[in-house]
Symmetry: C2
């Protein structure tokens, strides 16, 4: 055979995740406070094997980081809101990025839709939100904002490793 080594050299892009990887990721996304031994029991591997895979998944960036999730109310931020920012020009100005410096701002996305940027913020009270909105409005090119204050949070979980497979037509099991 000749000339096969440059056609799809080995694999392009990141290594695909096998069933073991998926199970490890699902387990760690649900609770990262687990020993490799416990993980091994869950996914069906030995502790060193799990350790090896976790190390690889971290290196490759599949696992971004592992963090403690705090209770917003307990740390003095009972008020959560999404803020839609409508920018005149093109949403991503360097100045706008600066609002990420506020610890109250947790997420910042540019989006397609009738908003240029969506922020997720969490703060002490409405006054703090008012102040932040003032800061945003003071930026050049900001046409307006719309805020959606959370009344209740029914679900708040990290990225799930699982995907919906029974597809289509899983007509939402009644109750």
């Amino acid at each position: 055979m000749e000339n096969t080594e440059d056609v799809r050299p080995k694999r392009r892009g990141p290594a695909p995740l096998d069933a073991f990887d998926r199970r490890i990721l699902a387990a760690l996304a649900a609770d990262a406070d687990r020993s490799y031994a416990a993980l091994g029991e869950i996914v069906g591997l030995s502790p060193p094997a799990v350790h090896e895979r976790v190390k690889r998944l971290k290196r490759s960036g599949v696992i971004r980081d592992t963090v403690a999730r705090l209770d917003g109310t307990a740390v003095g931020k009972p008020l959560m809101a999404f803020v839609h920012v409508e920018a005149a020009g093109w949403g991503k100005s360097e100045r706008l990025m600066q609002i990420a410096r506020f610890p109250e701002v947790e997420e910042l996305h540019s989006v397609a839709g009738d908003a240029s940027v969506i922020l997720k913020v969490r703060m002490e009270n409405p006054q703090a939100l008012e102040f932040l909105l003032g800061q945003i409005h003071s930026l050049a090119g900001v046409r307006g904002t719309r805020s959606y204050i959370a009344l209740s949070t029914y679900l708040d979980r990290p990225v799930q490793a699982e995907v919906t497979t029974e597809w289509p037509n899983v007509p939402l099991p009644p109750e």
Copy 2:
């Protein structure tokens, strides 16, 4: 003295967080993969003292859990979107709650504003979003939805223990 024991018995509500607690929470929210010895160095306490506090913070619920945060694209969900659901009656129907069963749904909040419910979803492709929107529209009382597809995510971090104190007038440091 008489009759002082029922007036503010000791303390009501959760114990307030002191400066050490704040530092511990900030460190763990940024990276939960730390030994108590390392944490102690950061916050200025001995390992046992840190251990004691972390245990208390977990018991009291200030630390909800510690999780691995996965890369959406790497797990096959490159498409993130916020979906606003406008419900006819009162947003929180039991049926609507059932969409939390989809692993693609990460957050579900009822909000004040011109949307009854806001969902954060992450999925494989637009077809998957179309399917999910179909499921939502099939629910009784759903008047309509508006979707905001994320083009770029500039910030995505957990609840921060810090709060903005230099307040008001921190005019967003120029670059």
